[in-house]
Amino acid sequence: MFLDGFGPIILDGAWVTLELAVMSLLVSFVIGLGGAGAKLSSNPLLKGIATLYTTLIRGVPDLVLMLLIFYSLQIGMNHLTEWQGMEQINLNPFVSGVFTLGFIYGAYFTETFRGAFLSVPKGQIEAGIAYGMSSWQTFSRIQFPQVMRFALPGISNNWQVMLKATALVSIIGLSDVVKASIDAGKSSYKVFFFTVVAGAIYLILTSVSSLVLMWLERRYSTGVREAEL
């Protein structure tokens, strides 16, 4: 039998892990773009909030933040529902995992995008304005495509770190690949084997994503000449 009959559970877990990682990537991507915009804006309040956000989040371990946000969010919800006289709403570990991971890695993405925005030569934006483009047009036609190119190495790095950080979400009760393999190991008395299986699944995920990212990097840097040594 496939993995002693635990194959389907573990594959389901792997799917949950992948979904979690992709959804959190989307959330953190959006937060990162917004955060970079805030950090580069001339509004001191926005700038201050964004700087505080990236400094605090990147200075505290992700697991601590995860537990802090997960438990506090649940307690806050309980207060809210009690106050409204509603029934208790239990937070779904998947949804809170997505938002927590997205919120944490949004800080790393903010820094990545900030650096990428700064790397777009200023003359190009001026040229766009000189052509009579609106600020949205200069953003979407000139800045954004180049920001993606400059940010890609940073994005790949953040993605690999985030993919590995999803393993921690099993600690707040999500049935992902780690939880599935721990359970499978406990009930089959083959803890060693199933830990190796979980590790192998992560290794496959990181290897495949590094191949995809390498391809993307080649694709997005067409037209960029590299110096040959």
């Binding site: 371990p61 601590v64 649940q74 921690l168 721990i182 083959k190 803890v191 590790g199």
Partner: protein, 237 residues
Amino acid sequence: MIDIIQQYWKAFLWTDGYHLSGLAVTMWLLVVSIAFGFCASIPLAIARVSRSKWLSRPVWLFSYVFRGTPLYIQLLFFYTGMYSLDIVRDVDILNHFFREGYNCTILAFGLNTCAYTTEIFAGAIKATPYGEIEAGRAYGMNKFTLYRRVIIPSALRRALPAYSNEVILMLHATTVAFTATVPDILKVARDVNAATYDSFDAFGLAALIYLCITFILVALFRKAESKWLAHLRPMKT
């Protein structure tokens, strides 16, 4: 918040009355695993850049596996996985070693940070300017002296910014230690949370301590960089 601090500040900082706990344990985990990773990664980095495939390939595989899997799984592997094997339980030394959460944690953390540090140092060694190596050879240094006097000192200096990043990531990674029953800061915070149901204050206090350590480490590394990387500082214009 103040109640929690009054009742648990000792547990958060160094002792729960019987054993070391909190900050002391976290710092101990960090220092021991970083020291182990540093010492092991220098020879491994030299092997990683070696021209012989028999030396470089195994090191590549080691760092690929340890960098491609989450630390939490590595800890589970060494803590619960190893101990479930009959061989480990039957051999006395192994049994003693893997029964202790501390040993497994240090082993997993040390190997993990060693893998990342090896890559950082190997990258720095590869980026050594060729002229420096030629100059060493011209002085008649043999390979060992060349590494000891020229390549390693210069590579370690240039690796400092990336290495400081790795140390801070390792500090953040030590938080998984509580899953192996090691009483670090997060374990204390979880106990406080279980005792008081005051999650925000319990974990917030832990977050604050980690934030302070991070800031202190960043400041120390800045100092180290201004000392050892003074020759690479951009010129003031």
